[in-house]
Structure formats: C-alpha cells, structure tokens
C-alpha cells in the first residue's frame, strides 16, 4: 500500500508549481541535502549522498568559528554531545547549544565526510552572532517559527501537527523507498513551506525570476536573521565551488534554508564566483568574550516535550528507529512502556497489549503507513491502557509539551520515548579552565568523592570548603545538596553545615557551561550572582542573591552590582518586605562572624538604600485617619529603621536628624494609620529624644477604636520608655522624668478607666495585642503597678493568672449589664 503524501502535496501548491522553485542555474557540482535536524531519515540521505558523490567538500550548517577545532569532534565521544557557546558582555552572558546525536544528519556528515577524505567545514555564523540572539538551540526547527504555513499542510494531510506530519512523510518510509524518491519528496515539502513563508514575508519569486539580480529586497527591508545567515552560508558554498570546480560539493543544511541557498548561489555572477574566497569568520565585538566548548548532552534536553526550542521530539524512539528500523523500534518502545508502567504497579494485561498492538496497526493502516509510526503506537497504547477521561490533551497531538495534570500513564509513555541517555566526552577533550579549577579545589578540600560532609563553620578551612560548595550550588552544578546549615536571612545559632555530595550525570556538562561565566569557580559565581542581582525580579530575588553572596563568601561585589542592588531596593514599594530584608541585613552587618559578613561594605550599602527607601515609603502610607488594624510587619519595618539609625548611623553615614524629623511628621499626621503613628512617636522617644508632652500625645492618639493599634506601634518601639514610672505614682528610681508628668502607663490606665463598657469591648482586642509586645515578666510588673494604683495590695501575678479567665467575656458581660441598666432607666423602671 503506497502512502498518499505526494499525491496530497501537489494540489496544495496552486500558487507555485514546484518546478518553478528550482533555480535556473544550479551549479552542477553542487548538491544541497536539505534536512530536518535530528532526523534519522535525513541522516540516511546524507550518508547515501556522501557514498555516492565522494565530494571534495562537505559543508555543514554549524558554527564556523569551531572549524579549527573539528578534530575534537572525532575523538570518540559517546553521543549526544553539543557545542556550548557562551558570550559574555560585562555582567550578562548568553548561552546557546548546537546538539548532535548519533542520528543527526550533521553528525553523519561530519563523520562520514571526514572518513571519505572530504574537506569538512561548518559554514554558519558563530552562535554569539546577533542573528542567534533569541535562539538557545541552533538546531531548533526553523519552520516552527512559521507555524501558519505548516498548519495548512497538516490540515490538508489530516495530521495533528508537524511532528506527525514529518513521520508520515519521511521517517516511516525511509527504509523502504529509494533515496532519490525520499529526497525529492522532502525537497517538495521544504520548498512548499519556504515559498509559503516567503509569500507571507515578501514577494518570493522576484529574485528567482531574475537570476542576475542580487535579492534586492534586502536593501529596502531589514534582512531577517534567516537571510543574514543564508547570505553568509552562500559565500562558503561559492568559495568551495571555486576551490574545486570539477569535484562535487555537498552541503548539509536545514531544509528550510535549501531553496534560499540554491537561489543565492545561482544568483552569483561569474565574476563573483571568480572572487569567492573562504569567508572570514566574524569576530565578536571587543567587549564581548565568547567561548565554545563541547559538552555532554542528554536526550532529556533534546526532547521537544521537555525543553522548548528543540527539534525532533522523542530522541530515544528515533535512536531505536536509526538502529533497528521501524518494526524494531515499535516493539522496543512497547516493551519499554509496559516495563515502566509495571514498575509503577500499574496493571498491564496481555489482553491490553493485544488491543494496543491491534489498534496501533489499525491506525497505521488508516493513516496510510507501511509500519506503525510513533503516534500510531502511542495512540494505540493510550486507547488500550487508559480507561478513564483525560484531564489534558495527549502531548503528541498538540504543539506544546507536557503540562501539569497529564495522565500518569501518558507521562510514562512520553518518558519512555524520551529516554535517559546522557553523552560522555572522550577524556582528551579540552575543557574550560573552570572545570580544572573546580576539580582541584574539590580535591584539596577532600570533597571529590560522594559523601555526606559535615562542616564546622567556625574552623577556617571548613568554612572555605563550605564556600566552595555554595559557589557550585550557585552555579547550578548538580550533585551538591545542602541538607542543613545557617540561614543568613533569619537569626539562628547553627554553626555546622551538612552537605550531600553525589554523582550526577549532568555534572560535567554543568561545569563546562559554568565555565562561560568565568575562569575560576569564584569568579564565575561572582558573575552569576551579579547577574542575578541585576536582572532578578525585584527585591526578593536580589535579597536572595545577596544572602547567597554571603554564603559564598563573595565579599566585594563590584560597584555596578552594588548600585544595581541599591536600585532594586529603591524600586521596591513593599514596606513589609523591605523591613524584613533590612532586619536580616542589619543583623548580619552587626553581628555575623560565622560567615565573615560583619561590617561588610556590600551589606552596608543595602542598609543605607533600605533606610532611605523606607523613610520615603513610610511617610506615604496613609489610610485616611480612621481605625485600621495594626500590622506587625509594618511596625517591624519602623523598628528596623530605628535599629539601623541606632547602631549604624555613625559608620554608614545615615542621617539621624532627617529620620527623626520624618518620624515626627508621621506621628503628627492624622491621615496615617494608628499603628504607624504610634510607632513613629515611639521612634523619637526610643532614640533618646524625650517627647515634650507624652501625656497629651497619648490622650490625643484616638478613641477606643484606635487606641490599641496606636499603642501597638508605641510599645513595639519604646517599650522600655513606657515602663518608666512617673512621679505621680510611687517615688521613682527612674533617672529623669519631668516632675509634672504621669507615666505612659498611668495615662493609658486613666483612659481605659474612663471608657464606657461598650467602648471597652471595642478597644479590648487591640489593647491585648498591644500589650503582647511586653514579655511576661514586664506584664507582671505592669499588672502589679496598675493593681496598686487602684488600691489593691495584690501581686500582679495573681491579677494576670487567676482573676480573669477571658477578659473579652468579662467585657461583654459588663456591656450587657450596662445595656440592661440603660433599658431599665429608659423605661422608668429604676429609680
């Protein structure tokens, strides 16, 4: 049974017959194999072309800047591997990968081309070039960026998406039809997509119709990134053709580029061909450092279902397709899925397997496939094995990847197809200096073997080891997990740290990629932290980066980072979060010896910025003057500012006078929330500026609904000052009260005593919260003093513990009493 694709393709192309796309004058020595990256079918085509042509040059779409190091590729690695490129400009860096696996057409071209004695070269722009600015994976499918064109084709051929379409067109038939037929079919496919895309973007056939003219559209419109790359690749092709005019030249590039490259090469004039020398490799701008290294890659990263911007999905399936052919791959896949499900205690009966097999074959025949394709198998397995409604569409029918909520059996199926193979580099492969630095440092600290290490941070040597591990953690090198240890963002008293060091297959790749940030672990960690501070989302992540810097022992972050950090602090509008950060940073700056962060300039800069910002923000907090519940975190922010002024003003040059003035304004601002007013009032008092008339201020604080919240603020900041006894009571031991003043507590007592029963009920919850700022012992003192004021000769303890079970119930009872009294009086029943 012959599949229908080609018959289906032709009516698709009403606007442009396929023949017209062929440029009129393709040099006869030139063969371009247009491929889909990571396609086994295309790899076969490439191998066949090299065997048949024995070309003098094999030109491959790949980063031209690694041409001098092509030998590294053929050392004998276990694939998949990738060329990793990092371009660093100042503190920001950009990473990209060009992955290869056993069945990549580019890999086959490289390997077989070298074996046949051809000159092999990469001919695309380097990965750091602006044309790749938005691409993390060089071998992502170009046509994916033009989904509209592909969607139309999918609809016409009745497939769900471009991946099933591709299986339908290429992979299933690859072993059964002659290479020439397959390659004609694929060229038609790519030509169609390209012409549809060009049709959308610009008048397409203009340059093809007039072969003498250079594509003139470039002068009028900005060339697309594809056009920039194609122009560059075309120059390499021209140079190769000129170099060996009478020997074949084979080009292996993305099928999407093939029509454009043919057009461009055909458009070169005779003179241009005569002058075509090997193009120079562009150099990065002076302030950009670009490095490229081979890294081990993994199937997981190759898989479109997991990553974004990749090419073919399901690498494990295609690996088997490459090795075993479609039938072998199908049975291996089924076996793998069944094993995985059974390992998870999911019942898979023989009847289910038969049903899956029958359904898969049935689907293959409905869809016109000789052998069951990837989606046929998966569809059959799902039909037979999943006996309930799905919450999410099947991942292989859509374009997106796995989403949360996908059926667990489906997840296992996708995982089975994805595989867990990881590449391994040959030991002789050059590695970036950071890898050697990391290995040496780990060995020096005895951390190079898997272990659980307990580090005593009070010993200098162990602290250095801890810093090394933290730096690796910050660089996201897997295998270094911190189990416990001190947390700089909260106060705690741990002096030891526990780490688990494990073997991880991705470790080497991560180390090599970290090498893009700097030549040593310390420098790379510093760069990464700096980048995190600068690019991170707001204060929260900046603060986390800062604490990481403390843990890594990276003291002197650059001035640029410091100003970035200050900017993050200054841009934040969240009083509570800022207060939390300031408290933590100030604590570190004042006390920390363990992590050697005491008096650090970095932390100091944050303290200064945070105090500035908080003073500004706090004055803006306004609720219009009515009652508003006290917010402990807001009060804590005021207290953090107070502590900063009290302990760090001199060393950091904080302006205490300004802070006091701001707080005095807040205290007097009727529109500010009560807790903030109270805190602001306590701010000056606690810094030793005794208020001229504390009594009047407290009396003016507000009515029953506000008093408790106001006192919360006051007690939080000026607890000690409030406890001082005024002369109105007993002879005092307190140092210097004005003779005419009552103590704060006496004023509060008088206010409460004057409240009606209803007012008391309203005020009580907030009052209780406010007195929560006193520790129990002080509460006892207060209780005793109040009892004495009212003539009870009682200890405060009894008052606190025994008398009142539930003050609120008591107040409610009193209110009821007085209500009854009022009613009785109103009705004249009481006299």
């Amino acid at each position: 049974m012959l599949p229908k694709p080609l018959n289906g393709l032709n009516p698709l192309n009403p606007m442009q017959p396929a023949a017209a796309l062929e440029p009129p004058a393709t040099p006869e020595m030139l063969t371009i194999v247009g491929v889909r990256h990571h396609s086994p079918a295309c790899a076969k085509l490439v191998r066949e072309a090299i065997d048949r042509l024995q070309p003098a040059h094999v030109l491959i779409e790949g980063p031209a800047d690694v041409n001098p190091r092509l030998g590294e590729f053929l050392l004998g690695h276990e694939l998949p591997i990738a060329v990793f490129t990092s371009a660093r400009r100042g503190l920001t860096s950009q990473a990209s990968w060009s992955p290869f696996c056993d069945y990549s057409p580019e890999w086959i071209a490289l390997r077989e081309g070298t074996r046949s004695g051809a000159q092999v070269r990469f001919i695309d722009l380097p990965a750091w070039h602006p044309a790749f600015a938005t691409m993390a994976n060089r071998y992502a499918d170009a046509e994916r960026r033009y989904t509209q064109a592909v969607d139309g084709l999918c609809r016409t051929l009745g497939t769900d998406n471009s991946d099933t379409l591709w299986d339908h067109l290429a992979e299933i038939d690859a072993g059964d039809i002659p290479a020439a037929e397959l390659s004609a079919r694929l060229n038609t496919y790519f030509d169609l997509i390209r012409s549809a895309v060009d049709g959308i973007g610009e008048p397409a056939s203009g340059s093809a119709a007039e072969p003498s003219a250079e594509p003139t559209t470039e002068t009028t419109t900005e060339p697309t990134t594809d056009e920039v790359r194609e122009a560059y690749m075309a120059r390499w092709i021209a140079a190769a053709l000129r170099d060996t005019p009478d020997r074949p030249v084979l080009v292996v590039c993305g099928g999407f580029h093939r029509p454009a490259l043919l057009r461009r090469v055909a458009a070169f004039s005779y003179r241009e061909m005569e002058d075509a020398y090997w193009p120079e490799i562009p150099a990065p701008e002076p302030d950009v450092t670009a490095v490229s290294y081979l890294v081990p890659y993994s199937f997981r990263r190759l898989d479109a279902f997991v990553g974004y911007q990749s090419g073919m999905p399901s690498p494990a399936y295609y690996q088997r397709l490459w090795e075993l052919g479609p039938r072998g791959a199908a049975s291996a896949l089924t076996g793998e899925v069944v094993d995985r499900l059974r390992a998870r205690n999911q019942p898979v009966s023989t009847a289910d397997l038969i049903a899956a097999r029958v359904t898969g074959e049935g689907l293959a025949s409905v869809r016109g496939h000789r052998h069951p394709a990837r989606a046929d198998l998966l569809d059959g397995l799902v039909s037979a094995l999943v006996g309930e409604a799905l919450d999410r569409p099947l991942p292989w029918t859509g374009r997106g990847g796995l989403t949360v909520g996908t059926h667990p059996a489906v997840v296992e199926m996708v995982a089975a197809l994805s595989g867990d193979r990881t590449g391994r580099l040959h030991p002789d492969t050059p590695l970036p200096p950071l890898v050697h630095d990391a290995e040496a440092e780990l060995e020096r600290h005895g951390l190079d073997q898997p272990q659980t290490a307990t580090l005593d941070l009070t010993a200098h040597v162990r602290r250095d080891a801890s810093r090394l591990l933290h730096r690796l953690r910050v660089l996201r090198v897997p295998g270094y997990e911190r189990l416990s240890g001190p947390d700089p963002s909260v106060e705690d008293s741990t002096f030891t740290e526990q780490w688990r060091i494990a073997v991880d297959p991705d470790r080497l790749a991560a180390l090599i990629e970290a090498g893009g940030h700097g030549p040593t672990v310390e420098l790379a960690a510093r760069a990464v932290l700096g980048e995190r501070v600068l690019t991170g989302g707001g204060l929260d992540s900046a603060a986390r980066a800062l604490f990481d810097a403390v843990l890594c022992g990276i003291e002197d972050l650059s001035g640029q980072v410091l100003s970035g950090l200050a900017a993050a602090v200054a841009a934040d509008g969240d009083v509570e979060a800022l207060g939390t950060v300031l408290t933590a940073v100030l604590g570190l700056w004042r006390h920390d010896r363990l992590l050697a962060a005491e008096q650090s300039a970095t932390l100091g800069a944050v303290v200064v910025a945070a105090v500035d910002r908080l003073l500004w923000l706090l004055e803006l907090v306004q609720t219009g003057g009515g009652p508003a519940p006290a917010e402990p975190r807001r009060i804590a922010a005021v207290r953090a500012v107070r502590d900063a002024i009290r302990y760090a003003a001199a060393k950091l040059g904080l302006d205490a006078v300004r802070a006091t003035a701001v707080m005095a304004r807040i205290a007097g601002n009727a529109a500010a929330p009560p807790d903030l007013r109270g805190a602001a009032f306590g701010f000056g008092w606690s810094l030793g500026t005794p208020p001229p008339d504390a009594e009047r201020t407290i009396r003016a604080a507000g009515g029953a609904a506000v008093l408790g919240d106001w006192l919360s603020g006051l007690f939080a900041l000026a607890r000690e000052q409030c406890l001082e006894e005024g002369p109105g009571e007993e002879p005092s031991q307190g140092p210097d009260q004005g003779p005419e003043q009552l103590s704060a507590l006496a004023v509060v007592d008088a206010l409460v005593a004057a409240m009606t029963d209803h007012d008391l009920l309203v005020a009580l919850p907030a009052l209780r919260q406010a007195f929560g700022y006193f520790p129990p012992r002080e509460r006892e003192t207060i209780a005793g003093r109040i009892a004495r004021r009212h003539g009870f000769d009682d200890s405060g303890r009894a008052l606190l513990r025994d008398r009142i079970e539930d003050p609120l119930a008591l107040a409610r009872g009193r209110e009821l009493d007085s209500h009854v009294q009022a009613v009785l009086e109103r009705e004249g029943l009481l006299w």
Binding site: T359, G362, G387, A389, L390
Partner: protein
C-alpha cells in the same frame, strides 16, 4: 443542507435487508419514511439525512477495504467527518484528526467506544457522525438518564399480544440494543453515566460475548447473536458524574477517548460564526452576526473557561459550562435581540444580558465572578466592542 428525497433509493445498505424479517419490518419502513417525507419540516434531521448526498458520493468512490458490516471503509469514514475539500465533503467536526482515527479503529475492534469530555464539546455530534458513517444510520439511540430501565435498552413487550399469544417474536418490542445486534449496526448510548450502575451493566454480555439472551423465548430465538458491524458508542460528560461511577468490568470493555474544547481561537471563532449564522438563518434573520462582536464573545468565553486571560493573567474560572455550544447559543441570542429589538446585528452590550442567563444561570458566585471579570479585565481592553462590553456591565442582574 442536502436534499434527502431519494434516501431509500440511494442507500444500498447491503447486509441489512435480510435482518428485517425478524424484528424490523415495521420500524425500518417507518424510520426512513418519516425521515424522507418530513426532512424539510424536521427541526434537526439525523446526520445521515443531512449529509445523504455526501455519504452517497463517498460510498460510490470508496475503494478501501470495509470492515465487515460497515457501510464505508475506515478512510472514507474519516473523510466524511474531517472533510475533504477536493471531493466536496464538508468538515463536520473540529478537533484533532488523530482523535477520529482512534475512534474509528476502536469501533472496528471488539471494544466499544466511550467518548468523554466536558459538556458541550460535541461528543454527541461526533457519536452521531460516527454512527452515520459506519452504519449509515444514527437513530439507534439510547438516551441515558436516572429513569432509564433495561426495557428501554434491550427489549420490552407488546402486552396485548403477550397476553393473547404468549411470548413470541411478534409480541417482542425490540429496543435499540437488540436491534443493533440483530442488524449489525452501531448503537449510541448517550450520557451513559447518568444511568444507574445496574442498568449500565446490562451492556456487559452484549459487549464481551456479543450475545443477548431473551429468556422468555425458547429455542433459537432465545439468544440473539450480534452480527458483524454491531458496536456501541457511549458518551459521558466529566462534569455531572464522572466515569468513576462505571463498574470496572464495563470500563474494560470500552476504549476511552477524551474530547477536549477547541484549543485554537481562530478555529473556535470560525465555528461559532458558522453555526450562529446558520441558526440565525433558521430564525428568519438575514443579517449575519457581527464578526467583531463574535470575537469579543468567543474571547470572553475562552477566558472564563480557562481561568486565564489572553495576556496570561490568572483569574477566576466559572463553574458553569462555558463550551463552544454555549457560545453559539449566546451568539444566536445576541443576533435575535439585535434584529427583533433594534433591527441590527446585535452588539457587545447584548452579550452581557445573554451571558447572565446562559452562563451564570442562577449561580450567585458565577455572577460575581462574571462581574469581576467585566470590571477588572474587560475595562482595560482597547477597541470599541470591548469598551461597549465593559460599558454594559451594569446590565448584569443583582
């Protein structure tokens, strides 16, 4: 809508004629007669009547192999549902082509097909189309419900004849399942999970052993064996009572296919426009719906269904069903309001009033969510229709 005057003439349903002697003489004639004579006046003719012409052409051109008892080959059936522009076959179901493939292959195997999904995802339409394609007849339908009994599924008796003559083939009144088995046709079981479990389980032996016992009759008549071509398409929605209510034994005998809401905005918009235009024509309104208004409508439906705006902001999703079918009915109502109240094509403010009744129903929480949506998300959008939509938010009741 295709003409169907020559339904009985064009359908050469080979393989079914010889079964009519047993039960079907009466209803076979009546079904097709009713369908033919009244097709024009019927509110909604069955799929095989609506698309009689396409079915006939597909059958004539069908060179694929047909599974035994099928009216069409698998590929022709696929083309019937997914459409084929070149052959003039319309696209009748919007969704993944692979779903149709799997459904058809399931029907060709010995398992039943269970279509599950949110309400309003066109499960019933799909089951009707599949039955029409496979058997040429989608009328053997059991509507599941709390009061469905085995009588309505298998068979019952003409009690006058039963008393007069005793149990016999003459006094037996076959229900859809019995007829489907005897005639080798596809039986549709709508909303199967709305039936009590015990009633559902009467499908067990017909699906596994492919035989139905009629214990009242004796001899060869006591067992009805399913002919080739018999199978069951059941539908169930995931909102009311999940498929968890089904017994495991019955679940095993079905292949499950989940039908999802239309993922793509343009496709859904196109479908709503097409269906609304059609409904409005049926209501005697010549004016097509306003595309801009429909865009607002479909966007709002999708956002309220997914709980996420186009920009990606999270928001509260409605608990009511916000399916494409509901969108079509709101679009229809909007068109009716516009035409009969003002003589125009309907505006975005009409959507608000229709939404309150269609989408929020009497659910106070949904009404509040709808109001929040209008106030927080709609107000920010550009465009005259969006602003009008926003401006009409006070029309929500309450």
């Amino acid at each position: 809508m295709s003409e169907s005057t020559d339904w009985s003439g064009t359908t050469d349903r080979s393989g079914t004629t010889d079964t009519t002697d047993r039960f079907g003489t009466l209803d076979r004639v009546s079904t097709s007669e009713i369908l033919t004579s009244a097709a024009k006046r019927v509110q909604r003719p069955a799929a095989e009547v609506r698309y009689a012409d396409e079915l006939a052409r597909l059958r004539a051109a069908d060179d694929g192999e047909r599974p035994p008892g099928w009216a069409l080959s698998l590929r022709a059936a696929r083309r019937f549902i997914l459409g084929d522009d070149a052959a003039g076959i319309s696209r009748k179901f919007v969704g993944d082509p692979s779903l149709i493939d799997r459904a058809l292959v399931s029907l060709a195997t010995s398992r039943g097909l269970m279509l599950v999904g949110e309400p309003g995802t066109a499960k019933s339409l799909l089951s009707e189309l599949l039955a029409a394609a496979v058997s040429g007849d989608s009328t053997l339908t059991i509507q599941g419900g709390a009061a469905t009994t085995e009588d309505q599924i298998k068979y019952s008796w003409n009690y006058a004849l039963l008393v007069a003559e005793g149990p016999s083939n003459r006094s037996l009144v076959p229900a859809p399942l019995l007829r489907g088995m005897a005639e080798g046709r596809v039986v549709r079981f709508e909303e199967i999970t709305r039936c009590p479990l015990e009633v559902q389980d009467c499908l067990l032996s017909p699906l596994s052993d492919r035989v139905l016992a009629v214990p009242e009759l004796s001899g060869a008549d006591a067992l009805v064996f399913a002919r080739e071509g018999f199978n069951v398409i059941a539908t169930a929605n995931t909102r009311d009572r999940g498929v968890n209510e089904m017994s495991a034994a019955l679940k095993r005998r079905f292949n499950f296919e989940t039908v999802f809401p239309i993922p793509d905005f343009e496709t859904e918009l196109g479908l709503v426009e097409q269906e609304a235009t059609h409904l409005l024509q049926g209501s005697g309104i010549a004016l097509p719906p306003n595309r801009d208004v429909l865009e607002v409508l479909v966007t709002a439906f999708r956002e309220l269904r997914d709980g996420r705006t186009e920009r990606g902001d999270a928001m509260e999703r409605l608990s009511s069903v916000m399916s494409t079918a509901e969108a079509v009915s709101v679009a229809h109502a909007v068109g009716l309001r516009g035409w009969f109240l003002r003589g125009d094509a309907g505006s975005a403010s009409d959507i608000v009033e229709c939404l309150a009744g269609t989408a929020a129903k009497d659910n106070a929480e949904d009404l509040a969510r709808l109001r929040t949506y209008l106030e927080q998300h709609v107000g920010r959008r550009k465009g005259a229709q969006w602003q009008e939509f926003y401006g009409a938010r006070h029309l929500l009741p309450g």
